[in-house]
């Protein structure tokens, strides 16, 4: 079934059909803006973006540039489970997993790239992460770049500690394994 919505378009009266008055009204609007902005350029709502910035709201819904959280020993919390890559609608995450020889966490990302030029900043990766390892709380807006490689976030650039957010985070499935491993290493 196609639903049909009937729109009651009012027939134009003669004055409107002649169009001249309407044109004058239109020009009054645009010219009004023109002169107002000409006389008082500071009154314009436009922000000169790279130089001027509106402070970010900083609430929980804000999604900014990604980061990978790190554990107390400096290793990435990420275990290369590929769930972010699976959830990513833009297919912008590239992960290559590797194995720790001793650490009971076993798995870590040898390569973790996010192609910002493809990222749609939807936050699905953060939602999907079972380890609380990826976050979008850096308060940095993913901006433009002059070359494609500049848009590529690598593991090295992603790994970052932000103590004010309560890092290192204790959430995540493999956290227990990591703590146990740290404890055994401490004893040695």
């Amino acid at each position: 079934m196609i639903s049909v919505k009937k729109v009651d378009n009012k027939p134009l009266n003669l004055l409107e059909r002649v169009y001249l008055l309407e044109i004058a009204r239109g020009i009054a609007v645009t010219a009004g803006h023109f002169f107002r902005n000409l006389i008082n350029p500071e009154g314009m709502p436009t922000v000169q973006y790279p130089e001027q910035r509106i402070p970010l709201p900083g609430n929980a819904r804000l999604r900014t540039r990604h980061r990978l959280k790190i554990r107390a020993d400096g290793s990435p919390k990420c275990v290369a489970c590929f769930l972010c890559r699976t959830a990513c609608p833009a297919c912008c995450i590239h992960i290559e997993a590797a194995e720790y020889p001793e650490n009971t966490v076993e798995k870590y990302p040898a390569v973790f790239d996010i192609d910002l030029s493809r990222c749609v900043v939807c936050g699905m990766c953060v939602e999907a992460c079972p380890e609380d390892a990826i976050a979008m709380d850096t308060n940095e807006l993913p901006g433009g770049a002059l070359a494609r490689p500049d848009m590529m976030l690598t593991k090295e650039t992603l790994l970052r500690d932000i103590p004010s957010t309560g890092d290192p985070s204790v959430k995540g499935a493999s956290n227990r394994l990591a703590n146990e491993y740290l404890k055994t290493r401490g004893e040695q």
Partner: protein, 370 residues
């Protein structure tokens, strides 16, 4: 040798003066046109609460985008000059000139002032004093179609051809109206020379109202402006380009060839603005300013030097041109684009009968014993 100069003194003086006038006037027009490309972007920006181009800078000084036309020009020159493989090489190359040259030639008859005394010589502030200047204007503006048609056809591109076809139909239709709206003025002034028409607008009506064309023919002014914008292919009648649909007759053009088309369009804006000022708003006339100075309706007088009067007249012409240029930009950025059938309907069903009606009424009023 001296004998030659003596014998041909008149001609040499005339040629030299004309050359100087061409250099000064055309130079001013070209400079203004270049600024107009910036103005178009700035005006549209400001009326949309934006800022517009302000990044092009020389040694770190941007002057709020003043260097943008220069930057545009450099960019255009440096771009690849591309020609489609199957294009008609000769006409493809010629088309931009067909667009640009008639537009520039039109300034020859534009009176930008009354006259000025230089070393005892009376120098007319008009490059060519044609007695039938208005017909020269109509004739040359008719030539502008060739640029469009040749450009569209020689590109051998369907979109370009479509744009050219639209352009041809639109310009042919609007030219008729454009011509007819001016008949009323010619009847009133009894002349087709532009300088004469401007001079005729120097008087006063009812003792206080400047006897400008718009006072006699307000209706014709609206028709003229509409037809002129359509002839000029500017918004809201820019279907020839119609970026969102067909891109236009210059689709296959790049680099300076494309720039020539674009420049021609802006030159035509200046032209329409000057024509509107000349024909309907007294040209270089300043209200109550006569050759010797101001003479206000109340009887107050302000005698002025000849050069000051001339400068004010030229200034008035420039100010009117600037105003109408701004007005054309404003119209283009205010109104949405017409559909092609709407434009044709407007031309043939509204503008043309109204223009004829205007002539009829003008004639009737002139014959009435008033």
């Amino acid at each position: 040798m001296t004998g030659f100069f003596e014998a041909n003194r008149e001609i040499l003086l005339f040629t030299g003066l004309t050359a100087v006038k061409i250099a000064v006037f055309l130079g001013a027009v070209m400079g203004f046109t270049a600024l107009l490309t910036l103005a178009e972007r700035k005006v549209s920006a400001l009326m949309q609460d934006r800022i517009g181009p302000n990044r092009a800078s020389v040694f770190g000084f941007a002057f709020n985008g003043l260097f943008q036309p220069a930057a545009d020009g450099i960019k255009m020159i440096l771009k690849e000059d591309f020609m489609p493989e199957r294009a008609e090489k000769l006409f493809f190359t010629l088309a931009p000139f067909f667009a640009l040259v008639p537009a520039l030639a039109l300034f020859a008859v534009m009176p930008f002032g009354d006259y000025v005394m230089v070393f005892g010589c009376r120098v007319q502030l008009q490059i060519a004093e044609l007695p039938l200047g208005l017909f020269f204007v109509l004739a040359l503006s008719g030539l502008a179609i060739y640029g469009v048609i040749l450009g569209g056809w020689a590109s051998k591109s369907n979109f370009a051809l479509l744009g050219a076809m639209r352009g041809a139909a639109q310009m042919v239709s609007c030219e008729v109206v454009l011509g007819l709206t001016l008949v009323g003025l010619m009847m009133i002034y009894g002349s087709a020379g532009l300088q004469n028409m401007v001079r005729s607008q120097g008087g006063l009506l009812f003792g206080f109202l400047p006897a400008w064309g718009v006072v006699y023919q307000p209706f014709a002014f609206i028709l003229f402006l509409t037809a002129a914008i359509a002839e000029n292919k500017r918004g809201p009648f820019d279907l020839v380009e119609g970026e969102s649909e067909i891109i236009g007759y210059f689709m296959e053009y790049s680099s300076m060839r494309f720039a020539a088309f674009m420049f021609a369009e802006f030159v035509e804006i200046v032209l329409v603005a000057m024509l509107a000022a000349t024909l309907f708003f007294g040209g270089w006339q300043v209200p109550y300013l006569y050759e010797t100075g101001f003479l206000f309706p109340g009887g107050a007088q302000l005698p002025l030097n000849h050069y000051l009067v001339s400068a004010m007249q030229v200034g008035a012409f420039a100010a009117k041109t600037v105003f109408f240029s701004w007005f054309l930009l404003t119209v283009r950025w205010t109104l949405p684009r017409f559909r092609f059938d709407q434009l044709m309907g407007l031309c043939w069903k509204a503008l043309l009968p109204l223009a004829l009606l205007n002539i009829l009424i003008t004639g009737a009023v002139m014959k009435l014993p008033l």
